[in-house]
Amino acid sequence: MKLSRLKERAARRWEDFEHPDHPLVLLGSGTCGRAAGARTVEDAAREYVEQHEPDGQVRQVGCLGLCYAEPLMELRAPDRPPLLYGGVEPEAVPGLLKEFFSGGEPDLDRAVAVMDDEPDPAGIPAFADHPMLRDQDRVVLRNCGCIDPEDIHHYIGRGGYDALQQALQMHPADVVDMVRDSGLRGRGGAGFPTGVKWGFAREEPGEKKYMICNADEGDPGAFMDRSVIEGDPHSVVEGMAIAAYAIGADEGYFYIRAEYPLAVSRLRKAIEDAAEAGLVGEDIMGSGFSLDLHIKEGAGAFVCGEETALLASIEGHRGHPRPRPPFPAQEGLHDCPTNINNVETLANVPAIVRNGPDWFSARGTEDSPGTKTFALAGTIERTGLVEVPLGIRLGDVVNEVGGGIPGGRELKAVQTGGPSGGTIPAEKLDLPVDYENLTRAGSIMGSGGMVVMDEDTCMVDIARYFLDFTCEESCGKCTPCRLGTRQMLDILDDICSGEASDDQLELLEEVANTVGESSLCGLGQTAPNPVLTTLRYFRGEYEQHLQDRRCPAGICRALTRFEIDHGECIECMKCVEACPVDAIPASEDGERPEGIDQETCTRCRICYETCPVDAIHVA
């Protein structure tokens, strides 16, 4: 089909979706929506629409990022502004649909936002004014949750593939320059300037070159790439095509985690649909440029996020990294020049080409231009996927976008960068979130995981947790990483179980520095970061573990005792009932808890979390 006809049809379909002349139900159907029960909500909506709204439609969209409010459901109808509902149970669906489609009053308890510029008179905020959205700037997430990710017409109807068309009319070197001028830096973690990287691959001599999208999002606590692919797969395919054209590659791979089945299937469909529309494949848009795209599913190895290990994995080997140089731009896949970019980096590219480098670099800071997506999780009020301009205060992300800590508890730390990153203490909330400042604070930007921790989190346990992960995931090729992560983990295990001697902190620090300096690849070089940052900011907590044999957060079981404060206790007996091992006997008259039998207690924390007045304390 001719491109102009495709665009006309896409514009019509998009208009019909955005301003439907019939009832339309949209369901957030990313992995997180589904985990919250979106499928049963969808079933209920379909049943209602079939019975009561013969012209109505039920469709799936990606993730809007307000994961805390999942399952989310948006309702659209002629003659009234579209409305987003959150926390929707299947039982509530018929009532919500009936009210909305008959022009009744919306359910204020469940209404999250008006999906329009104007707020609702009843006090429901417009989407852009919602407290979680106010400080956001959605470039990468521009389509997520707004379009049906499996309908290429929606993407095209919103201007998709215009950037590719524009790029194909430019000289490839000019496309490289454009991305270089924008200042875009790699969003996978290291922050290397993307345009410079493209330039290396472009200038390298060679008939055959490869373009690879790294979608092996392995950091625990990170789900940005998953959401982008699930919600807007064509933005990544388009970015990939532009990058391949710029560097001179005619073949591309998406290396994506097999643990993300929904993302894999949406990406596969996007590539097929784009190929059918002539937007990838042979002689794209009559330009003479061809691009053959493949998907490789990762088989579950964290180290394969490292570029050279990823290449080994695509070639069918164990995912072992190798020394660089030669860099992949010189000798990559099958020894050909290869450029590797992360999902979010590529999703930025169409927006840069379409709007120009100045438009992009007007956002963020001088050294860290643009926006960054973060996966907000942990003990925070509004968990979800957010996109903020770089340079934003860390405190604004936690308190404004994320809504602060629930349950009146205190913020203790924010963990960024996953197992390669560090924990930033609550005192540093003024820290601007950009590459340099995070590195100076001992952490890294990483791919964008941001896990918020309250006072109930033990920082020694967090360091132990990450070392347990990296020790397990160390590929074993180089000695410092293979043995050093194990040594650090053993020391941390000893500290958490009260078996470490006082001089272990120095040894821990020494091993950490050695592993960081001498490991072969990024996994080992950054593995000590969780240890070094917790030692830097929470050394006192380590010392309490060692000297007082006490875990102040009450997490390390061997170093924890729970006690009931009888002055605060309201004698509700909930702890007595909740204890799974009957370690809290009732008094003889059965009226109040006697106390906690420390011999029987397993430190499972159930009583601590059950007590409605916080009368159970860590001794």
Binding site: P220, Y260, A299, G300, G378, I462
Partner: protein, 157 residues
């Protein structure tokens, strides 16, 4: 899923092998497809893949044991993955794992003797906003508690 017989391996493998050109790059996708079909990677299947892509079977074994996705033993009918990602850890994912370990009376990585359940701890299924998360047969369940997880498993028994 019980142990596969040689004939079964031959019968089910031929159509899969035909989909892949005989070169090393085909190896991991081939093993993924074979496991999808047979539920695990029996020794005979690894031998057949080795012949097809023309590498020593020890190399196939090396790859199959490097990546956590591959299993060399038959798996349970239901696959229970308890997420131990950072957000799940901070929100009590380890207590869910304890509850499942107690309930099924197996350690992570093991299969119940009746082959009903295989338990695995995984580092992040990417649903961190709904932590803690348990994945059963590929379906993620968010905002879990030890009690909710146990009753979910009881429904499957």
């Amino acid at each position: 899923m019980s142990h596969a017989t040689d004939e079964q391996v031959d019968r089910e493998l031929d159509p899969i092998l035909q989909n892949y050109p005989p070169r090393r790059e085909s190896m991991i996708p081939l093993l993924q497809d074979v496991q999808e079909q047979l539920g695990y990677l029996p020794r005979e299947a690894m031998q057949r893949v080795a012949e097809h892509v023309n590498v020593p079977v020890s190399d196939i074994y090396g790859v199959a044991t490097f990546y956590t996705q591959f299993h060399l033993q038959p798996q349970g009918q239901h696959r229970v993955h308890v997420c131990q990602g950072t957000a799940c850890h901070v929100r009590g994912g380890d207590r869910i794992l304890d509850a499942v370990t107690d309930k099924l009376d197996i350690e992570p990585g093991e299969t119940t003797p009746d082959r009903q359940f295989t338990l695995q701890r995984v580092a992040c299924v990417g649903s961190c906003a709904l932590a803690p998360v348990v994945m059963v047969d590929g379906e993620a369940h968010g905002r879990m508690t030890p009690q909710k997880t146990v009753s979910l498993l009881e429904q499957l028994e």
